[in-house]
């Protein structure tokens, strides 16, 4: 009797000819996240061996592409062995008298002598003999004992949901603007969930932003790495851009001018890391710069598609998701970031592209972008490593 974990994937099973590549990527992602676990690629699921540590299940709950997982006992495909495993698992649940249960068998190996309903009945009878308090109930029982009969048999009582989505690495790469607020980490999570590898870019503007603001972003990337795999954070100096904007651009257009330069820098980072899109945490109408007109004027600064996964969400939904991801607590730490300084008193909320372009006339845009890239540092925040 060996303890294993069954890992199921759903959506990626439908991807036709790409399927083997998707499954292999999921297996690689799991192997990288859990170095000491042995990952076996089975016909329609993955099987983890040496996976007794409690955090393996936590990790599976944070690996995109996993639909569900079950800690299971692997035994010989024989009824007596299956009974031993089922008894061990039910005993762990310590059922009170009156606990309702059923057995649900899937027989993939048709050479097994009993049919699935026969296994259900016989195993149910044997369990009731051993645990006289159990009451059989087909609909919504408190305990369900699942039995998968293949070449070996797998017995389990838990099906733990995974996050779904697609394995990170199957959807190409994008560069994301990461400010340190609540929204941008959620935006990164959303695109990673669709299989995209993300390179986050943070604009760091000492002395207008503190060292603590940068540390905060590093911590955000650490948390995101638990979901999205290891990420290389680009920290790009931006104070010189803010100075220039402050001095050369009329005040109502500061924000749009700043965002347009951020887009250009992000596009250059995308060229370096081979990314095909930009990602922002913008949502429609949350702040003045997020009107359709402002978004259009900002987006015109780059030829790359700009993904805004939060566009249809309201603040409460974003906050709830940030809490689930684990970034909320870090995001609300009160260190100022470059989005909160240099805010015009009366911003132009619906700037035209022409206005935005005219505002940049006094700026040496190319050299500002170049200086930002020249000073960029990359950081590899480690996800908390566990074997």
């Amino acid at each position: 009797m060996e303890r294993v974990v069954l890992v199921r994937y759903g959506e990626i099973g439908l991807k036709g000819a790409n399927r083997p590549a998707f499954v292999a990527q999921l297996a690689r992602n799991l192997q990288a996240a859990l170095p000491c676990v042995r990952v076996e690629n089975r016909f329609d699921h993955l099987l983890l061996r040496d996976a007794q540590q409690p955090w393996v299940l936590e990790r599976l709950a944070r690996t995109f592409g996993v639909v569900s997982s079950s800690p299971a006992l692997e035994v010989a495909a024989e009824l007596d062995a299956i009974e031993q495993a089922a008894r061990a698992l039910v005993a762990e649940l310590a059922p009170q008298p009156g606990t309702t249960f059923r057995v649900e068998t899937h027989r993939r190996d048709k050479s097994f002598p009993l049919t699935s309903p026969e296994v259900d009945r016989e195993l149910g009878r044997r369990l009731q003999t051993h645990f006289p308090g159990l009451v059989a109930r087909m609909k919504d029982p408190q305990v369900c004992v699942w039995v998968d009969i293949r070449q070996r048999a797998y017995v389990y009582t838990q099906v733990r949901p995974g996050p779904g989505g697609l394995p990170v690495g199957t959807g190409g790469r994008a560069v994301a603007l990461l400010s340190g607020g609540i929204d941008s980490p959620v935006a990164i999570w959303m695109v990673a969930k669709r299989g995209v590898e993300v390179t986050p870019v943070h604009f760091h503007a000492p002395p207008f932003t503190s060292e603590r603001a940068k540390e905060k972003v590093v911590r955000l990337v650490e948390v995101l790495s638990q979901w999205c795999g290891p990420m290389e954070l680009w920290v790009v100096p931006f104070a010189h851009v803010q100075r220039a904007i402050r001095q050369q651009v009329e005040e109502p257009l500061w924000t749009v001018a700043m965002r347009r330069i951020m887009m250009r820098v992000a596009e250059r980072v995308a060229e370096r890391v081979g990314a095909a899109a930009l990602v922002t945490g913008e949502s429609l109408g949350q702040v003045a710069s997020q009107t359709l007109e402002a978004l259009a004027a900002i987006e015109a600064a780059t030829r790359l598609p700009v993904l805004r996964p939060l566009v249809g969400m309201d603040k409460l939904e974003i906050t709830a998701l940030a809490q689930r991801i684990g970034t909320y607590e870090i995001s609300v730490l009160p260190y100022e970031d470059c989005c909160t300084l240099f805010v015009p008193r009366r911003p132009r909320t619906r700037p035209t592209l022409e206005e935005a372009e005219r505002a940049e006339v006094g700026l040496a845009v190319d050299s500002l972008v170049q200086e930002a890239l020249a000073g960029a540092e990359t950081v590899f925040p480690a996800a908390p490593a566990r074997a």
């Binding site: 002395p207 932003t209 100022e336």
Partner: protein, 388 residues
């Protein structure tokens, strides 16, 4: 790059002899002072010698010194301990006390205790006239900081004591007088009896001692209700095995200041005068620390640059190697204006534009000159931020 640390009021770097004393206590005094055996006796000996050193520095009896985990705990013990030990207490604290006095006072108020907050004037001194008006027959505690931690003003605590004497003459009962002397110890010469204080808070790490250790002077005969229960250490006023290495380090720090203090206080005064004059020459600053040398601590200068946020200036100074703070360090992670400056009647805009520079024993004239140059560079560089 030259590094100039001007944030001693947040915490001061441990003195070499403090490091030595802490190490020595850890290595040579492993026992629990409460143990019966010889190691316990040795540890108790070190504890009591340290207590004597702190008492000597305060002008107190050793039995009047209660070691705590720091100034915050000592302030909490003073405020809650005094209020809880009395029936129907009335409490008065100044409006610009450290949070570790203000927050306990607010908590008392929430729980139904009568609490008044005494206003301060625009220069940073508690208003004695207002304080006297606030006193009542049932006033149990008056708490006035000795040196304000943000602006460095030296409060007339001895005069507060005389007001309390008058209250006693009127009502037959003298309120307890507490003073938070965390920023004063070492830097300002005082003796608890001359202040007329019943409770005095001190902390080790503002004068080169270790963090995590402080003390409350509790005048003989003063009754307090303890906050931390579970043992009869510190005369039952503070349960728990004492932080012996910290306490030994604290003693080393006060011994250093007792020995060198006269000379250091003169030097700090001279250096802060030089710093003040240097910054004054830059122009465009608004001082939050008055220039009166008799009524300020020698090591703290607080200045506002109107229109410029304090934290931006702090970060910019750091780029020049100068370490300062925006107010008390406990507050600097919050983007709130300083409650001290608001209490002094400064506008919100002025209160978010303050920077505190605080000097210490290792500060030199060159450091001060470097700081002035850094300030000049920072102001020139950041001038564009000031909105007309």
């Amino acid at each position: 790059m030259r590094r100039v640390y001007l944030d001693h009021s947040a915490t001061s770097p441990p003195l070499p002899e403090v490091v030595e004393a802490v190490r020595d206590a850890l290595e040579r005094f492993p026992g629990n002072p409460a143990s019966l055996h010889g190691l316990g006796v040795e540890a108790e000996g070190l504890l009591e010698r340290s207590r004597e050193a702190v008492a000597l520095s305060l002008g107190a009896e050793p039995s009047e010194v209660v070691f705590t985990s720091g100034g915050t705990e000592a302030n909490n013990l003073a405020v809650f301990g005094a209020a809880w030990a009395r029936q129907d207490p009335h409490v008065v604290v100044s409006a610009f006390e450290h949070s570790s006095v203000l927050e306990p006072a607010r908590r008392l108020k929430e729980s139904g205790v009568a609490v008044d907050f005494c206003p301060v004037d625009g220069e940073g001194f508690v208003r004695l006239d207002a304080l006297e008006d606030l006193l009542r027959p049932n006033t149990a505690l008056v708490s006035v900081v000795l040196v304000n931690n943000e602006v460095g003003t030296l409060q007339p605590v001895a005069e507060v004591a005389r007001l309390l004497d008058r209250a006693q003459a009127r009502w037959g009962r003298r309120p307890l007088l507490h003073t938070d002397a965390v920023q004063a110890l070492g830097h300002v010469l005082f003796r608890v009896r001359d202040l007329g204080a019943d409770l005095v808070t001190v902390s080790a790490h503002k004068l080169g001692g270790p963090k995590g250790v402080g003390a409350l002077f509790v005048r003989r005969g003063v009754r307090l209700r303890p906050l931390v229960l579970g043992g009869d250490q510190e005369r039952g006023l503070r349960a728990g095995t004492p932080n012996l290495p910290g306490i030994a380090g604290f003693a080393a720090a006060v011994r250093f200041w007792d020995r060198e203090g006269d000379h250091l206080r003169d030097r700090l005064r001279q250096l802060s005068g030089r710093l003040r004059a240097g910054l004054q020459a830059l122009g465009g600053l608004r001082w939050n620390t008055p220039s009166d040398v008799d009524r300020t601590a020698p090591h703290i200068l607080n200045v506002s640059v109107p229109g410029l946020r304090g934290e931006v200036l702090v970060h910019r100074l750091e780029q020049e190697g100068v370490y300062a703070s925006t107010g008390s360090a406990c507050h600097s992670r919050r983007a709130h204006p300083s409650h001290v400056l608001l209490a002094m009647g400064r506008s919100k805009a002025e209160a978010v534009s303050a920077v505190r520079l605080s000097l210490g024993p290792e500060t030199t004239e060159d450091d001060v000159d470097h700081a002035v140059a850094a300030f000049r560079a920072a102001l020139e560089d950041l001038r564009f931020l000031v909105r007309s």
